[in-house]
C-alpha cells in the first residue's frame, strides 16, 4: 500500500466516521435520556433526506440548501415528538418498556418508510452536492463536498454537545436522563424534556439524512443501513459520555474503509458485526467508558 492509497482510504474512513458520528449521536441521545432504543432512527434519516430534497432541489422546491436543512430539522423535530408521544409514551411506566418500544418504533419505521414510498415513489433520487468540485491535499483528491461535510458535522456535534452541556434545557435533559425521579422532584417537566430529547435526536437524524442524500442515492428504504451502522457505533462505543459514540464512529468508519480495501466490500459488514459481537461479549458497556444501566 502506497502512502497515497493509505491517505485515500483514511479520507474515506473519516467521511464515513463523520456520517456515523452524526447518526449515532442522535440514537445515543434517545438511549441515554429515555433508556430505549429507537428503531425508527433510520426512517428519520430517510425522511430528513426527502424533506431536504423536496425543499432544496431544482425540480421540486429550489429554495436552496439552507432552507432544505431547516426543513429537515424542523420537520424531523416534529416527527420525533409525534413518534415519542404515540409510540413510547404509552409504555413509559411498563416494566417491559424496552421491548415494547423496540417493537413500536420498528412498526413506526415501517409506517414512515412506506409513507415516504407513497409520497415520493420508489425511484431513487439524489441531493446535489453542497459545493461542487474537488480539492487535493497531499496528492489525494477528494470532493469539496465531503470535506465541507466533515467540517459541518463537527460543528453540529460541537453545537449539540454545547447545548447539552451548557444550556439550561440541555442540562435539564441530562438531569432527567440520570435520575428521572429526582429531576421530577426538582420541578423539571419530564414529559416535555423526554419529547424534546426525542425531537432533538430526530432533528440530528434529519441533518444526517441531508448529508447521506448528498453522497448516496436516496430510496425509501435507505434508512436500514444507517440504522444498523448507528446501532453498531452506539454499541461499540457505549454511551457513557456524549463523545463516546463519536470516537467509536470514527473507529468504525476507519475499520470499514480499511476492511473494504483489504478484505473486500462483501465481507466488510460481516467483519463489523463480528467485531460488535465480540465487543458486546467482552465489554457490553462499550469501548469508551462505563455507563451504568438499570435493566
Amino acid at each position: 500500500m502506497t502512502f497515497e492509497t493509505f491517505l485515500f482510504v483514511l479520507a474515506g474512513g473519516l467521511v464515513l466516521g463523520a456520517l456515523y458520528a452524526l447518526m449515532a449521536t442522535g440514537l445515543a441521545v434517545v438511549w441515554t435520556t429515555l433508556g430505549i432504543f429507537n428503531f425508527a432512527h433510520g426512517a428519520f434519516i430517510t425522511f430528513g433526506a426527502y424533506l431536504a430534497w423536496q425543499v432544496s432541489q431544482t425540480e421540486a422546491g429550489n429554495a436552496g440548501y439552507f432552507a432544505g436543512a431547516a426543513a429537515a430539522v424542523a420537520g424531523l423535530f416534529i416527527t420525533g415528538v409525534i413518534f415519542h408521544l404515540a409510540l413510547v409514551r404509552p409504555f413509559e411506566r411498563k416494566p417491559n418498556v424496552v421491548l415494547l418500544s423496540v417493537i413500536t418504533t420498528l412498526a413506526g419505521a415501517t409506517i414512515l418508510e412506506n409513507a415516504i414510498d407513497l409520497v415520493w415513489g420508489p425511484r431513487s433520487k439524489q441531493l446535489a452536492p453542497m459545493v461542487p468540485g474537488d480539492a487535493t491535499f497531499f496528492g489525494v483528491t477528494t470532493s469539496k463536498n465531503q470535506i465541507l461535510m466533515i467540517v459541518l458535522v463537527l460543528i453540529i456535534l460541537a453545537a449539540v454537545g454545547a447545548f447539552l452541556r451548557y444550556s439550561a434545557t440541555g442540562r435539564a435533559m441530562r438531569a432527567v436522563a440520570q435520575n428521572r425521579e429526582a429531576a421530577e422532584l426538582m420541578g423539571l417537566d419530564v414529559p416535555k424534556l423526554y419529547a424534546g430529547a426525542f425531537g432533538l435526536s430526530a432533528a440530528i437524524a434529519g441533518l444526517a439524512g441531508l448529508f447521506v442524500g448528498s453522497i448516496h442515492f436516496m430510496t425509501p428504504s435507505m434508512g436500514t443501513d444507517p440504522l444498523m451502522k448507528a446501532l453498531l457505533v452506539v454499541i461499540f462505543g457505549g454511551v457513557a459520555r456524549f463523545t463516546s459514540p463519536i470516537y467509536a464512529a470514527f473507529v468504525v468508519g476507519l475499520v470499514e474503509a480499511f476492511s473494504t480495501y483489504y478484505v473486500g466490500l462483501y465481507w466488510t459488514p460481516a467483519v463489523l458485526f463480528g467485531l460488535m459481537i465480540v465487543v458486546l461479549i467482552v465489554k457490553p458497556e462499550g469501548l469508551f467508558g462505563k455507563y451504568e444501566r438499570s435493566v
Partner: protein, 617 residues
Amino acid sequence: MRYDPPFRKSTGFIPALVALALLVVFPFVFTDTYSRHLMILVFIYAIVAASWDLSLGFGGLVNFAHVALFAVGMYTYGILAKTLGLDPWLAIPAGGLVAMAFAAAIALPILRLDGIYVILVTIAFSQLIYQIVISQSDVTGGTSGMVLLPPLKLAGHSFVLNHKIGYYYTALGIFVVSTACLYTIIRSRLGRAVIALRDNKYYAMARGVSEARTRLAALAASAFFAGVAGGFYGSYVRVASPDAFGLGFLTLILSILLVGGAGTLWGPIVGAFVITLLSEAIADYGPWRSIAIGAIIILILVFYPGGLWAAVQELREGVDMARTSMLARWRRNRGRAERERRLGTREQVISTPHGLIAYADSGGDKPPVLFIHGNSACKEAFQYQFAALRDDFRLIAFDLPGHGVSGNGEPETDYNVPAYAEVAEKVLETCGVKNPVVFGWSLGGYVALELSARAVVKVRGLAIAGTTPLNLVPDDFGAGYDASSHLILAGKQYFSPTEARAYAGSATAPYSATSAFMHRNLGRTDGRARVYMFSKLGVTDWPRQMRMLRDGTVPFAILNGSDDPFLNHSYIRGLHYGSIWTGAPFDIAGGKHAPFFNKPDEFNAAFRRFMREACGL
C-alpha cells in the same frame, strides 16, 4: 404444586379437535389452489410465530434472529436439496438442525446478557448471517437468491399437482407436530424453567434453575421448528431469497405474534390465521399494506396488549357467563319443586346489592342456624341437616352469588368473602333473625368467620368444616392445606368434564344417585366466582378473624371430617383458639371434605351437641 392433566382431559381438547377436523376437511371444501396456498402460508407462519413465542413470550428473551433462523432453514434446504442433491424429505429436518446449530451460536454470547443487549446482539447476528449469505453468491445465489429448488415428491407424485393437496397436508402435518411438541415443551420441566426465569429470575436460579442451560435449550428448541418451517417453505415456494432476512418479514411475524397474543401457545396460531389472511387481502395495496400492519401492531400494543387470544378468552368468558346466568334463571323455576322437596321448605328469592339471592328458611320460633355452602356448591348440600334438625332449630340456607339458583354477580365487587358475608347479613335481615348460629363449609367457613368478625350480626355460635383459619394470606394456604390439584381446581375458571368430576367428587361425594344434584350444580357455578375468590383474597381482613378466634368470645366448633383429603389437620390443631368446643377440633369419624353430607348422622349428632352448648339449651 403441579397440576397438569393430559391434553385429552383438559378444556382445550374438544375445541382443538374440532379445529383440526375443520382443517383436515378444508381442502375438500376449497379445492382451488389459492385458498390452499393461503392456508399453507398460515401453517408456516403459525409455526414460526409460535416457536418464536417460546423464547420471546414465555422466556421474555427477545431473540430477533428467530426470523433469520427461518431463512437459515430455507437456505439449508436449498443447498442440500439442490446443490448437493439430498432427498428433499431429509433436507427439511436438516434445515431444522442447522438452524438449531446457529441458535446455539447465537445463544452463547447472550446467555448472560439482558434486556436491550439481547435484542442488539441477535439483530447483529441476523445481519451477520444475512451479509454472509449475500456475499457468498456462488453458494447462495447472492442478492437474487436460489431458484428452482426441487419440490417435494412422494412415490413419483409431485406435490405441486392436484392444486397443492400434497403440500397442504404436509404443511398441516408439520404444523400439528410442531404445535404438539411446543405444547409438551411448555408444560415440561424446561418450559416451567423458562417461565420461571421470566417471572422471577433470581428466585428461579435460587431454586436450581440454570439460566444459561435453560436459555440455550429454549433457543435451540424454538430454532428447530423455525428451521423446519423454513426448509418446508423453501420446498414449497422453491426459492430461497434473502428477503426473509428483511425487516418486512420480521415485522410480519412479529405482528402475528403480538396480535395473536405473546406468552400463549394458541395466540400466535390464531394470529397467523388473521394476519395472513388480512395481509393477503390487502396485498394489492403496496405500501398501504405495510402501513396497515405497522398500525395494527401499534394499536394492539397500546390499546389491547393481550392480543386476539385475550379477546378469545373474553368472548369465552362472556359466553360462559351468559350460559351460567341463563341456567340459573331457568332452574329457578324448573327444578324448584325438587329443591323444595330436598330442604322441605319454600325457596324464596330476594334482591341484594350483590344480585338476586335464593334462600330457604324453615321458620318457626326456634334457635336459628344459618348454613353457608362452599365453593361451587349450593344450599341443597345441607339437605340432611334440614331433614334431621328442622324440628329443633330454625334452619336457613342460601345460594352464594354465582352459585345455585342465585343470580350471577359483578366479579369485581361480588365474588369475595366480605361480599358473601354482606349477602348473609341481608338474608338474615330478611328473615328477621338477630343472633343465629352460623355453620360454614369450606369457602362458606371463611364467610362464616368473616360474618362473625364483622359483628354487624351478633353471632351466637360459630362452626366450620373443611376450612382452615388463616393468619397470613396467601402464605398460610400452603401450611393449612395439603397441596393438591384440588387447590388449583378450586380457582380454575373452566372445568373439563374430567376436572368437574374430580372436583365435585372430592369436594362433596363421588358421583352417585344421591350426589348427582351436586355434580349438576357445579356446571352452573359462574367460573369467575372461583377465579375472583382467589384474586380477591386481599380484600378480607384475615387477622381480624384470627383475633376473634383467639379472643374466644363466640362459641366456636371445628367439625372436620377425619378423612378430609385437603386439610392439614395438624396445622389446624396447632392454632390457638380462645374457646373451642370439646377443647380441640372435633373430627367426624370417616367424614370427608363435606362430613355433613358423607356422614350426616355422625355430623348431626355432633352439631346438635354443639348447638345445645352454644345456645345454652
